[in-house]
Symmetry: C2
Subunit: 228 residues, 2 copies
């Protein structure tokens, strides 16, 4: 799954979460990162439609991920300008892209975003414009990847987030356990060292055992209740 991660963050150098994500993506051959605040030019037009469309086409991305900090319940202005410049239902990249993902970082804690909470609305509600965009473009809208108060997380929580983020960017989102296992096996196999081979082997064995068990259970159910 080839992915393009489009980031808008005016102060990306000092953002610990963005730097953490960038480090995670380093070396991922299937991922193209485009940092808009760098591409943005002072003179108008700040973005050229032709240049942006070319970048999208050349990335070969089927998944487009918009990544940004939430400013006043929306994406930063530069991200919006990019959308206003690039989006077009008839553009060639529009057919190439199949999925839209949102990675949003927030300074406010998760519990605030709910009815009756301090912020009153869920992140899903606040991001509706992006869901409507995916709908209009005929793209699948992925579950939002929310990162709340990154700096307050423990090291272990950050490492877990790293794996989840990498999955969000590169894994097929079929939502099955087998799919996640396959992703882990593939990644472990691509690593060097005996311990990684062993990890891949271990996940594989567990997966085989589990799938066999599932099959037996399914047979047994069928014998009991028929194939309905």
């Amino acid at each position: 799954m080839k992915t393009m991660v489009v980031i808008s963050h005016p102060t990306i150098q000092t953002s610990s979460s963005q730097q953490f994500f960038l480090a995670t993506l380093k070396g991922e051959e299937t991922v193209t990162v485009r940092h808009l605040d760098e591409v943005w030019s002072e003179a108008k037009p700040h973005f050229t439609r032709a240049t942006e469309e070319k970048a999208l086409l050349e990335s070969g991305a089927k998944r487009l991920i918009l990544q940004f900090p939430m400013y006043w319940y929306q994406a930063p202005a530069v991200m919006k300008e990019w959308i206003d410049t690039v989006m077009s239902k008839s553009a060639r990249f529009a057919k190439q892209i199949k999925e839209l993902g949102i990675v949003v970082t927030l300074g406010v804690k998760e519990e605030a975003f709910r009815a009756g909470g301090k912020e009153q609305f869920t992140i899903s509600e606040l991001m509706r414009p992006f869901q409507a965009l995916a709908n209009a473009m005929g793209w699948k809208y992925l579950p939002i990847f929310e990162v709340h108060q990154f700096d307050y997380k423990t090291e272990v929580a950050k490492q877990t987030l790293l794996v989840e983020y990498l999955q969000y960017v590169t894994k097929e989102h079929h939502g099955t356990l087998k799919n996640t296992e396959d992703w882990f096996i593939e990644r472990a196999q691509s690593m060097k060292g005996a311990e990684w081979e062993q990890i891949a082997e271990w996940i594989k064995e567990n997966q085989d055992e589990r799938l066999e068990l599932e099959m037996h259970l399914s047979d047994w159910e069928e014998s009991q209740y028929g194939d309905y």
Copy 2:
């Protein structure tokens, strides 16, 4: 009620709806109009916080109206940049403003914006970020003023829209009939000519009659059911 109408529309000169609204507001002493695409400067910073805050304070506005065409289910990038530059819970203008209104023009017909409709979401849902903004700033969020497919409207529909728009911008939003009557009486009285005096008189007489009737009804209800 003093109001500031902040407009973002990159091609305001050729927008028939925006020109229509601007003509409507002409001569309104309680209304300050700020067209962002004119104020925006090519060199960074595109907006100066100090200048924008000064404009808000000098307007004396208690109502802030954000007016824009919907681009990809959000406000244009320039409007977002203004919000990112200006908004601050601790700014002096934040206490002066009491209400936030949204005037949004749309090229798509109203029926598309509903669950199961082409656009899937209501305008209220798509504008949640502005509702969340009002909530965060401690401002009352006014019902959204939606303008669908302005150019397809009949002359009569446009004239009705003109009055509704003027009410949206200048009238107190208590939502009572008396309040709307008072607004009409006040406006008619401020016009020159015998026919306006007569109109004001006519609304006033009707209002008096209606209020008297209401009082009698209330007395009668009390006599029947007690004052519960």
